[in-house]
């Protein structure tokens, strides 16, 4: 029998793209549970639609590009993209919103650029931004947390609405949905209200707000309900760092810079600028910090480069939230920093052993 003569190393760590992606999916579970708890079943249905659409889109594109379909479907990267996109959508988005988003994410942002590893922009965020600028109404129709919804849709009712637009008799979509806490805060600030005025109106304790049928936007520290979703993603993200699936640099830099800049403005004028904790625990910050900005394909490569990249995202999130036209801004911040990655990579290289220093 002739001996095999492959090149060294002859052993390999038991990791693969599939195991990496699988762990990312597992790490999303705590945040997802909190999401379902506060905002109902819609997100689960959206994830299902997104995953199916992504696998179909991926398969078709791999066929067209004459790539091994099984090998690339099994890497689970399309599933991760689909799940992240679905988590970013309002829970009662109609099915076609999700499908269009997935189409742009998988076909345009990923496969047309060369597939796994070759896309300069985060596919899920490309899909999200396309939806946000094309369908602003659907994309800003969020649900209040379950305690304050006029009617709680069950799984079947959510599915009926997502697929057919049917709501149970006597329920209107407008009655069901409202702007997200960040959106409400932004609008109120825009109308010249101060944070304490908004707090007086919308920061009531649960009993009073129930009596007045006003949805509180402030939770204990962040957006009501959202703070728990964010805490769930934070937990999953810390587990990913512990498992060394992601590095600490991007999340830490991003959260620290967001906290710092919001803290500075909050200290300067607390009536016009929300607290750092509110910023950290509202919207998609934790999902963005641990699951989206850390997408390795589109992030900076070196340790110092990742710090710069994370800081850039953190600052852009705040700038857009505070002075931009959109209430939340993870997607724009990430995409803008994606553009800066080649520049960052070129300028921030680690010190090579034996070069300078001690």
């Amino acid at each position: 029998m002739p001996l095999l003569t492959p090149t060294s190393p002859h052993v390999q760590a038991p990791v693969s793209v599939t195991t990496v992606m699988l762990q990312v999916l597992l790490a999303l579970i705590p945040g997802l549970i909190a999401y379902v708890w506060f905002f109902g079943w819609g997100v689960v249905i959206n994830i299902g639609i997104a995953v199916v659409a992504a696998l179909i889109a991926e398969t078709v594109m791999l066929r067209i590009r004459k790539q091994p379909v099984g090998q690339y479907l099994w890497d689970l990267s399309a599933v991760v993209t689909a799940v992240l996109l679905a988590l970013a959508l309002p829970p009662l988005s109609p099915w076609w919103i999700t499908v269009i988003g997935v189409f742009f994410a998988i076909v345009v942002a990923k496969q047309l650029y060369g597939g796994l590893g070759y896309n300069p922009f985060n596919p899920a965020m490309v899909g999200y931004v396309v939806l946000l600028v094309s369908f602003p109404v659907e994309m800003t129709s969020w649900l209040p947390i379950s305690d304050f919804r006029s009617y709680d849709l069950g799984f079947a009712e959510s599915a009926a609405f997502i697929f057919g637009g049917h709501l149970p008799a006597g329920i209107t979509f407008d009655a069901l949905t409202e702007a997200s806490p960040l959106d409400t805060l932004k609008n109120n600030l825009g109308q010249g209200n101060t944070v304490s005025e908004i707090r007086a109106q919308l920061g009531l304790d649960d009993v009073t707000s129930l009596l007045l049928s006003v949805t509180p936007i402030f939770g204990m520290i962040g957006g009501k309900g959202w703070e728990w979703v964010n805490a769930g993603f934070l937990l999953g993200g810390l587990w990913l760092i512990y498992r060394k699936i992601i590095g600490w640099q991007i999340p830490v830099a991003m959260l620290a810079s967001l906290a710092l800049i919001s803290g500075l403005f909050n200290a300067y004028n607390p009536e016009h600028y929300a607290t750092p904790l509110f910023h950290l625990f509202s919207g998609a910050v934790m999902l963005g910090a641990f699951f989206i900005a850390t997408d390795p394909v589109t992030a900076a490569a070196s340790g110092p480069g990742r710090l710069i990249y994370g800081v850039g995202i953190g600052l852009l999130i705040y700038i857009i939230r505070a002075w931009g036209g959109y209430p939340d801004s993870i997607a724009f911040a990430v995409l803008l920093m994606n553009m800066a990655v080649p520049l960052i990579d070129d300028h921030f290289k680690p010190r090579v052993f034996g070069h300078g220093g001690k």
């Binding site: 060294s8 052993f353 070069h355």
Partner: protein, 538 residues
């Protein structure tokens, strides 16, 4: 010394923890295998020039007799490991990644194992340093850790600063390999004696024996053996691949980084291997040249994995059989460790001076390379890289043959440890790309040199033609007027030009010679790795 335990250590960036597989070969003491039926001695078992044959077919040789002499400054002699008859001199397969043949001397042992006259050096401390180095050179001792660099050159501090720290490398960080571990467990006193000789030759201020903390038996044995020796200490370093790399180990032990363009000796450090100093001890205190070495014979195709003290030139398959191995079960035979060792083309190759381990692996033991996926830039490689490179970036430059960019990203600081390939979730053979890119750079440099030589040759031809023309002219002039001062001056000029040309020719010859040596000293550039299966990757 008690200070040894508390010595401060430094860390390097990255590193990996592959599964060790070491215990399988440490359960039995070092074995002495049977005398082989045939001994094959390659002339080139070291870095540098191959040795010059000094025997002929039919000669009877004694154990320890030199059969080939060192043929230059960077070279090492080869000795007959037992008494017998030279039966063949010619090309034979050697353990090399290329699977090619090389000149070898084949000896048929006579079974008597009769020694040539030899004896110890009475008091090496009274010898001149050059005489001491010469004994080590004549003993054919080279770095037994795997590099095979002639040891006597290392023992020459030259004009460099005095050696501050002499590091004995007992790290043995590669999985499977246990030859240094077992040697330290069983022959600690001899190792310490050899280390003292090396420390004396280098006039080292202190000697530090570094052992990974997964070898407690070796650590205690070495500590016991050197406890009464001043300026010698033992440290346990954390188990981490590739801390056995000499420059990384220097950092761990001293905190100093050898600058990229310099050698350890330039910053007052020298690193020697356990097996090497043991060989130095045998050479000085017993007068024995390097005839054998400890080899770990392991892998699932052998039932009794262990370490053997094998004669240089012993066929590997004989050792495998003696360890209850089944050659037909081997799917991959690796010389060295699984991280940096290379796969051999056949099992009947000889053990050479740098064979520290042979892994006879079955099909189930080492998985075939998995399908290559595109790079997802996860950075696992740069987290693992001990040189703190960015392998994911280097990979692009290597793949697109952008050698300038690759060098800008410090391609040549890659120590080819394979940690990047080991951790890559996309199964990209990164280190293979880097070897290939290095080979590419060397080829380009050689071509540049060649064209430079051609240019110079052309220029001297032009000069010669001009001179000849001038000489003809001068002769014509001479005929005209025998005593024309201008013609005489011209003659003098042309003689000077001729002398210059001769000097230039000599220099060109030397250049060409140096070039030849350089290419021979280096491993053959490996073949280009298979491209990842991504059609539109380019």
């Amino acid at each position: 010394m008690m200070q040894a335990i508390r010595r401060r250590l430094w860390a390097f960036h990255g590193g990996v923890h592959p599964v060790q597989h070491k215990h399988v070969s440490t359960e039995r003491p070092i074995q002495r295998p049977r005398l082989p039926r045939r001994i094959v001695l390659p002339l080139h078992q070291h870095i540098g020039e191959p040795a010059d044959i000094v025997v002929k077919v039919g000669d009877h040789v004694l154990k320890g007799q030199a059969v080939a002499h060192a043929s230059g400054y960077v070279s090492a002699p080869v000795h007959a490991p037992t008494s017998g008859t030279v039966v063949e001199i010619g090309e034979a397969p050697i353990p090399h990644p290329s699977g090619l043949t090389a000149p070898c001397i084949v000896i048929e042992p006579d079974g008597e194992d009769r020694w040539i006259e030899h004896g110890p050096v009475e008091n090496y401390r009274e010898l001149a340093p050059s005489a001491l180095r010469n004994i080590i050179r004549e003993a054919g001792i080279v770095g037994l850790g795997g590099a095979g660099f002639p040891t006597y050159i290392k023992l020459n501090p030259g004009h460099a600063k005095a050696i501050d720290t002499l590091i004995l490398n007992g790290v043995e960080c590669e999985p499977y390999i246990t030859c240094d571990d077992m040697l330290m467990r069983e022959r600690a006193a001899e190792i310490v004696s050899g280390l003292e000789i090396v420390a004396h030759a280098l006039q080292a201020r202190e000697s530090v024996i570094a052992i990974e903390d997964n070898k407690p038996e070796a650590f205690h044995a070495m500590q016991e053996a050197c406890k009464d020796i001043p300026d010698m200490s033992v440290v346990q370093v954390p188990t981490m691949y590739p801390s056995g790399d000499s420059k990384l180990l220097a950092k761990i032990v001293t905190g100093k980084e050898v600058p990229s363009d310099k050698l350890s000796i330039h910053i007052g450090l020298t690193c020697v291997n356990v097996g090497t100093v043991y060989a130095v001890h045998r050479a000085i205190h017993h007068g024995e040249p390097l005839l054998s070495r400890i080899v770990t014979v392991t892998g699932k195709a052998v039932d009794q994995a262990c370490n053997v003290e094998a004669l240089i030139g012993t066929p590997m398959d004989e050792l495998i059989r003696q360890c209850d191995g089944n050659v037909s079960r081997i799917e991959r035979l690796i010389m060295g460790g699984p991280m940096m060792g290379f796969a051999l083309h056949r099992a009947d190759l000889p053990i050479i001076k740098t064979t520290n381990c042979i892994i006879a692996a079955t099909a189930a033991e080492l998985q075939p390379p998995r399908p290559v996926m595109p790079c997802i830039r996860c950075g696992a490689c740069s987290d693992a890289c001990p040189a703190n490179l960015l392998p994911q970036q280097l990979y692009w430059f290597a793949k697109t043959k952008d050698v300038e960019k690759a060098q800008e990203y410090n391609l040549f600081d890659c120590i080819e440890c394979g940690a990047c390939s080991y951790v890559c979730p996309s199964n990209i053979p990164l280190v293979q790309y880097f070897r290939y890119a290095k080979g590419d750079v060397w080829t380009r440099e050689r071509e540049k040199e060649k064209s430079e030589i051609a240019r110079r040759r052309h220029e001297s031809r032009q000069k010669r033609l001009e001179r000849e023309k001038a000489e003809r002219e001068a002769k014509r002039q001479q005929k005209k007027s025998a005593v024309d001062p201008a013609a005489m001056a011209e003659k003098g000029q042309s003689e000077a030009a001729a002398a210059m040309q001769r000097a230039e020719a000599r220099r060109d010859a030397a250049l060409r010679e140096a070039e030849k040596h350089r290419t021979e000293g280096r491993p053959r550039p490996p073949t280009e790795p298979a491209e990842p299966r991504n059609g539109d990757a380019e």
